[in-house]
Symmetry: C2
Subunit: 202 residues, 2 copies
């Protein structure tokens, strides 16, 4: 069976990456791995579904054991992907969708050079700010911190393979871009090192 | 207006690249440039539609003038793409589909590093041979020459960005692969060098 692709989806807060992920995950071709985190659950979040909510001590022990494919510390909390969970999904032939921050993406690039890194972007900085304020769930201070963070994330765009622009109401269009990227990557010659030889053997 | 992509489609004889091209060209997104050639027209071929049929002297004069984006000499005949025709199509925002041989593809790669090189492959060497004989339009000697040529072409697979496998009756599937490749390439970060800056300006 052909191994699945490891797809990293990043994007500034308000870029709509959550919605795009949900659209992609409607297809059995895509799977997600439940991240581990040390942050407190938000209302409605379920342990083992939204995240594996674990203690700082447990998280740090798992880091030491090399059990994390990637992890980052964001606003004082750890977030990470369990290596065992990720590898089981890929071996099963499904594309693993990791919705992670820029630091995590850089780690993935180092550990798995075959990963496909995609950054989702709102059409502009002002649109992003509007989207973020529209949520009405966060304080002004937190919004400002997130916007500053967005600028830092954009500075890492060059680490990514693809950028997908989320125009207004364009989540389905973004999901279609990601599906096209996956289909194209499966055709990439560099992913088929023995192809020319195999052609004559069959 | 965003410039179109220069798409090179190559493939051994019998790989079905002609059929795949025709499927792609049904969409106005794709255009082809009529190649110039010095070979004699086949029955039914129309000058200015299938090829620009020109003399060897005229072709060589155009080479000297730098009027060819790529050209090759195959079985004693010149084939080439007029630079002016290609550039007008790209500037108009359409993707230019060039169905060319391996040597031409290598030239394109050198002159236009932004070109997307795709090799179309039959499922196997034996399938290719069967397809070629099934045409019933060529002598045994010519078939053997084409098969030898196919092996040489496969040796150049590493020059290509993508390989698209043409399974039996799979031309539409191949065309869909090419459409996905185009969509993905349009999202490639390396094609948007000023994107991060533009994000904050708008």
């Amino acid at each position: 069976m052909q191994e699945g692709l490891l797809i990293v989806l990043s994007g500034p807060a308000g870029s709509g990456k959550g919605t795009v992920s949900q659209l992609l995950l409607r297809s059995p071709e895509f799977a997600f791995s439940v991240s581990a985190t040390t942050r407190a659950p938000r209302p409605g979040e379920v342990d083992g579904v939204n995240y594996h909510f674990i203690s700082v001590a447990d998280f740090e022990e798992r880091i030491r054991r090399g059990e994390l494919l990637e992890y980052t510390n964001y606003c004082g909390n750890y977030y990470g992907t369990l290596r065992s969970e990720a590898e089981a999904i890929l071996a099963g032939g499904r594309n693993l969708l990791l919705e992670i921050e820029v630091e995590g993406a850089a780690n993935i690039r180092r550990l798995r050079p075959d990963a496909v890194l995609i950054m989702l972007l709102p059409p502009s900085f002002s649109a992003q700010e509007k989207r973020l304020r529209g949520r009405g769930t966060e304080t002004e201070e937190k919004i400002r911190a997130r916007l500053a963070r967005s600028r830092a994330e954009l500075d890492c765009l060059h680490l990514y393979d693809y950028m997908v622009l989320n125009r207004d109401n364009g989540a389905e269009d973004c999901a279609e871009d990601v599906r096209a990227i996956v289909r194209a990557e499966r055709c990439a010659v560099r992913r088929h090192p023995g192809a020319a030889a195999a052609f004559f053997e069959n």
